[in-house]
Symmetry: C2
Subunit: 378 residues, 2 copies
């Protein structure tokens, strides 16, 4: 279990007066354990828990078939194992909590994840314990990345960006969307990611649709192509999107792209500790309005890490002050129904006095010239 | 909303004395709506609900940003829309239930999915309603596939099998695991799947590890290769695994493969309505014991459809009698720690008087001869 995360969480528990935290979502178990329990996100009844007392040893509760995997990679905590086909995992969680002297403690749980059935069973098994909502506590801690998380997200953002770059650079008229997808996903694995999510390959008239996978459609001169993917490593996500053009863009496409690039620079210029998320979103929508077409997205950025979207949002949510250590996905975009779509999505970390572009591999000042190289700084 | 599914569920509700069902998991919403609400499985707070009263109109509760997508593809139900950043979706669910005259009804919910927080909020907003567990009712109905579901799973199983076949047939000594992954995933999309899950590419010594993605490792003569993928279409899954050999297998590898193939035929010979899941598993473990090495998997098959694993299990779970319309994934396998692994995973439907192999594209009587064609019936 990650000592640095445990210490942070203990600080927050002390403030809240909690005696222990019981993580149960795949994200927060991964946050503590440093690995995704493999089948937990795939089969929701394969519960895993990580218990962090204010004082005393941490503990993991895992299903029998994951015990070997987790034990071999997460040394340190006490292990409590429940058997998949032999009943209810909450019996083992309750046993672990009693064993740790927490049977009558104030326990912080993830009530936005723990199913109602398991919550009721825990309440019955631990009648003297107080079960309180702690999802906000976890979310708040996860907003501010550790140095290790930043290193991982920097590496992951760059390799994801590089894979997009190389796939677009290797394509040309006649390439199919499927060939692009193969090149892209190959690059993601080769770059060192463990897997990926949300592959979007949308060329020509398909570029107007937000979430579409690859087809046999082949690139033609004049096509725009929106290429997006989230690289995944140790449970963390980095989402990057590039838009390419086969041949020369129209004046209108150039004009729109210029607006998206100016929006990106507006964001990079204003993202810093203390900045207001609402003010940044308002500045973005003013820039967007210069286009005179389309509607702005309801948020132009959001926290990202162990989940696709985390707090804070830039737009939509409550007004927030940014802080050093936050990592955001930012994505100026325009979908023109019936015509085409352009999107520019990057990963950005808030630093002590500004921000750092993590997805800095591809030059984005012009639409990506498909079939050519577009390295930043070249 | 699918009329046939609604009718089935109404029959089960009548038996249970429920006034309405409220589906909230991505699987059961897809089961009713016939589409996966795109961001529901990705962001767990983006709740979607499908309400099926015993009498009266069905209703969907969706988040604002999915309204257009869902409305355009699911005509018929009443729509209630909640706004993502403006509060709590349970307020809109409660409003919908009141509007449908169900404020004091017996409601069947998925208490193994609905988070404790949302359950508590619903209870508070609908103090006169009785909220009961109905996850078992949904699971039971989903065990028996409709003709439409069977058609889809047949098509999906075959295209998944064909993509595995073509990727292994196109490979050879020197091919990298990443190249195989690219060929395989390309084939999955080309065959008509929308996406895929759980890609496993495990060659040589890596074939002993259960869940590993592709690397830059290149095939050498004498390598085994375990290639597995789940094709995904409209939320349904079909998982198939083939094991190939580069060049000639050793006598030991041939002997093990023969055992796995005999296990497959044993399963195909015994899977039929009325058969006992425990008896089938016991027969499988007897066959496995002939190998004299390794340990048998704790279940050799499981239901599959909108979730990776569904009831019934062949082994592990309670003894069940099979029924026509069930679809099972069956997977004889052997992992030899420190050496190699072989796996043979197929999709099978229980018919009126036996079973039908859905993944029937690849001949599996011998290890797949990598670089050659292994079409069944050729």
């Amino acid at each position: 279990v990650r000592a640095e995360i445990v210490e942070r969480l203990r600080g927050a528990m002390r403030e809240r007066g909690l005696d222990a935290l019981v993580a149960c979502s795949p994200e927060n178990v991964a946050y503590l354990a440093g690995l995704v329990v493999p089948s937990q996100p795939l089969m929701r009844w394969r519960h895993a828990f990580c218990i962090v007392p204010l004082d005393g040893p941490t503990a993991m509760v895992v299903v029998d078939m994951e015990e070997h995997t987790v034990r071999s990679r997460v040394p340190g905590p006490r292990y409590y194992v429940w058997r998949e086909f032999a009943g209810d995992c909450t019996a083992v969680v309750a046993e672990a909590l009693r064993d740790l002297g927490l049977a009558d403690a104030r326990l912080g749980l993830e009530l936005d994840y723990l199913p109602a059935r398991d919550h009721a069973a825990l309440r019955e098994r631990l009648p003297a314990a107080r079960l309180e909502a702690a999802e906000g506590l976890f979310a708040r801690q996860r907003e501010i990345k550790t140095a290790g998380e930043l290193d991982l997200l920097r590496r992951l953002s760059r390799l994801t960006d590089a894979a997009l770059h190389d796939a677009l650079a290797a394509a040309g008229p006649g390439s199919s969307e499927l060939e692009l997808a193969g090149a892209l996903t190959g690059g993601i694995y080769r770059g060192g990611a463990e897997s990926f999510k949300l592959l979007i390959v949308a060329s020509g008239e398909r570029s107007q649709f937000p979430n579409v996978g690859p087809t046999e459609r082949r690139l033609r001169v004049g096509d725009l192509i929106r290429l997006e993917i989230f690289g995944v490593l140790e449970g963390y996500l980095a989402g990057v999107c590039r838009t390419g053009i086969v041949g020369a863009p129209t004046a209108e496409q150039e004009r729109i792209w210029r607006n998206l690039v100016e929006s990106k620079h507006l964001l990079l210029d204003t993202l810093r500790p203390g900045a207001s998320s609402d003010a940044i979103y308002a500045a973005y929508t003013r820039k967007f309005a210069e286009l005179g077409v389309g509607r702005p997205i309801s948020f132009v950025g959001h926290g990202i890490g162990l989940h696709l979207h985390e707090e804070p949002y830039l737009g939509g949510g409550p007004d927030r002050r940014l802080e050093a250590g936050m990592v955001l996905g930012v994505e100026p975009l325009l979908y023109l129904p019936g015509a085409f779509g352009l999107q520019l999505k990057d990963m950005v970390a808030i630093t002590a006095d500004g921000c750092e572009l993590l997805s800095d591999y591809t030059a984005t000042d012009t639409l990506f010239p498909v079939g050519h190289v577009a390295r930043a700084g070249q």
